[in-house]
Amino acid sequence: MRAIAIQFDDVSKQYRLGEIGTGSLSRDLGRAWARWLGRPDPYTIVGDENNLDYAKDHVWAIRNLSFEVRQGEVFGVIGRNGAGKSTLLKLLSRITAPTSGVIHANGKIASLLEVGTGFHPELTGRENVFLNGAILGMQRSEVRQRFDEIVEFSGCANYIDTPVKRYSSGMIVRLGFSVAAHLDCETLIVDEVLAVGDIDFQQRCIAKMQNVASSGRTILLVSHNMTTMSRLCDRCAILEKGELVYIGDTDAAVERYLKQNAKLRADADLSQHQPRSGTGHARFERFWIENESGDSIEMFGSGDTVTFCFDVRCRHQPIENLDVQFSIHELNGDILTRLTSVAVGAEFTAASEFQTVRCRLERVPLPAGTYTIEVRLVAKAEELDWPRGAVASFEVGEGDFYRSGRSIPHENSKFLIAGTWSDGGRE
């Protein structure tokens, strides 16, 4: 049995929601006054989370988390947005303190939650390498020893004596990652920083990580990218709403995570959805997504071809000029696009009680991310059924949208266009 590198012992972290600090001076003064007089705190919340206001204002980002990471292990943490992954990393990196519980660790820990942390724009690349290295916990002598290696890896050798403010963002990221990649530590904590830079650099980063892993160091990795996880991790934990729901073998964890998403998300039973409006002459019963071979799926890649399917139940038939509408939204609710069957001239006539309407989407131009679906049923400008709010959601992973075998990160893109490129030079 290998020694333990990191141990979480019943760790919880609570955050207070809403505006913190504003208007609390009077409360703080009142509290101090009461303490001075020897009275109990007038603002103590009795009954803790049983109290509705308290439960509304406070949220457990992580709750009763206990697990161990052994030395030399590559340990992955999987979870949806808001599952508590980042909080876990922040606690372990000592950026914020836990509300309760204890974390133990052995060996020197280097945590990499961002690349290029603390870069000063006025300083040169060289000066920043030393500064950044020191911020990450390296001695100057260590940085000096590895300086050439770091610069070589970043590919910024020609600009190393130029102030960083003249660098492109890509160069800053490369230089930042290079410093981090050469950290001398026993345990490395990494947060999705692999998805930086161009493809060539990404490949080198992953190779470097594998290198670090095979040298017997412990890595704790958090990523959305299941491919990276499967490739790098020995063991994985799944977090859900701050609690640990699974810990064990990576393949099993990834499979479980994806399946769990399927159950929760893309395949939605709409018959009981509330609230909804409309005459109710016809109603949505179910929504799901099929891949090209007709299987119900919860996740697909950018550029895949999928079919959105709607089960509609009609109380009276036939209903003519049936118009099925749906919209795709970002997680924050912003609408990306709305599709209506009428727009492309497809109006259905519902002849039987159960009707399945299909909409095939070819080469879906959505970047990786989570999206939600809203649906509406209209006939002859009359609203039949409108289940309010998001009824289903699906996940898009990195995919081969460009048909080039390349996956490009799109942090800031809302949709993708391949374009047809040519370079016919002037004659």
């Binding site: 955050y15 913190i20 000592r94 133990h104 006025e122 100057r140």
Partner: protein
């Protein structure tokens, strides 16, 4: 019994074995000196960054460290010396103001720059851990370097005037290291306290900015204590900075009212304030990321 004993021994071993333990609460008074020492390279680089970034892309470069106090001194000589006709205890005005300005800018820079520690470094603190006290420490140390440069300038002026016989130094000038230490502690403690409190109440930042300006007039920077009416002297004696200015002037320029009890008061004030500041700073440091 033996089994039990062995078990206890084993658990003792595993308990003491950890290199790092993260708990909800840390000792409120801990300065984490061991950690600060381990991060001494970072401290050095922070100081270097502060000093180097100050004159990057300037033509005169580090010369600005001395141009600033000279200009301020000349302005003060005109406004307070010529127009307001404030007395300078018989000390040549240039030496008098330069001495005061060097000391005052050391204190106010220490205070102002450390007071925004958490606000200015929120992005950095949110991404990586190092003992947070390194930032205020680096501010104080880089300001100490600036002060030494400025005080060296004062030294040149001082040599000029004493060669001329215009000023008579005293042995109290040997107290300068103590004065600087107390002043640095006061600036650091005040700044740390404010930085800790201003994570919650941003108003304090604005209050502080003009508070420090006002404090200069309540400190014998541009006037000597001897010129103050007795009535106001008691108020002035509450200011822990006053004895520091007066004793420095007495030592180098030969005129100034100070007392040992006044110096003792300043030191005590600095120590108490520093302890309070460390408690407040440690308290905020642990979870400040959640509130900013």
């Amino acid at each position: 019994m033996t089994v039990d004993h062995n078990l206890r021994k084993l658990s003792d071993v595993t308990e003491t074995h950890w290199d790092l333990t993260i708990k909800p609460n840390d000792s409120p008074l801990s300065l984490k000196l061991g950690e600060v020492w381990r991060h001494r390279d970072l401290l050095y680089l922070f100081i270097r960054r502060d000093l180097v970034a100050f004159y990057k892309q300037t033509i005169l470069g580090p010369l600005w460290f001395v141009i600033q106090p000279i200009c301020t001194t000349i302005i003060f000589m005109i406004i307070f010396g010529q127009i307001a006709k404030l007395k300078t205890d018989g000390i040549p005005p240039f030496a008098f103001y330069l001495c005061g300005i060097a000391l005052w800018s050391f204190f106010s820079e220490c205070f102002n720059k450390t007071a925004t520690t958490f606000r200015d470094n929120a992005a950095l603190f949110g991404k990586v851990y190092f003992p947070r006290i390194l930032v205020p420490l680096s501010v104080v140390l880089s300001n100490l370097l600036r002060f030494l440069i400025q005080f060296a300038l004062f030294g040149l002026v001082w040599i000029w005037y004493s060669a001329d016989g215009q000023i008579a130094p005293h042995a109290t000038m040997l107290l300068l290291p103590l004065v600087v230490l107390v002043m640095a502690t006061l600036g650091l403690a005040g700044g740390m306290l404010l930085s800790a409190m201003s994570t919650k109440y941003r108003d304090l930042v604005f209050l502080m900015q003009f508070g420090v300006q006002l404090l200069m007039y309540a400190t014998p920077v541009i006037y000597p204590v001897s010129e103050i009416p007795t009535r106001l002297k008691t108020i002035l004696s509450w200011n822990p900075l006053s004895p520091l200015f007066e004793v420095t002037r007495h030592g180098f320029l030969g005129a100034g009212e100070y007392s040992i009890s006044g110096l003792g008061y300043s030191m005590l004030f600095a120590i108490v304030m520093f302890i309070i500041a460390v408690i407040a700073f440690n308290h905020v440091e642990r979870t400040f990321v959640d509130t900013v």
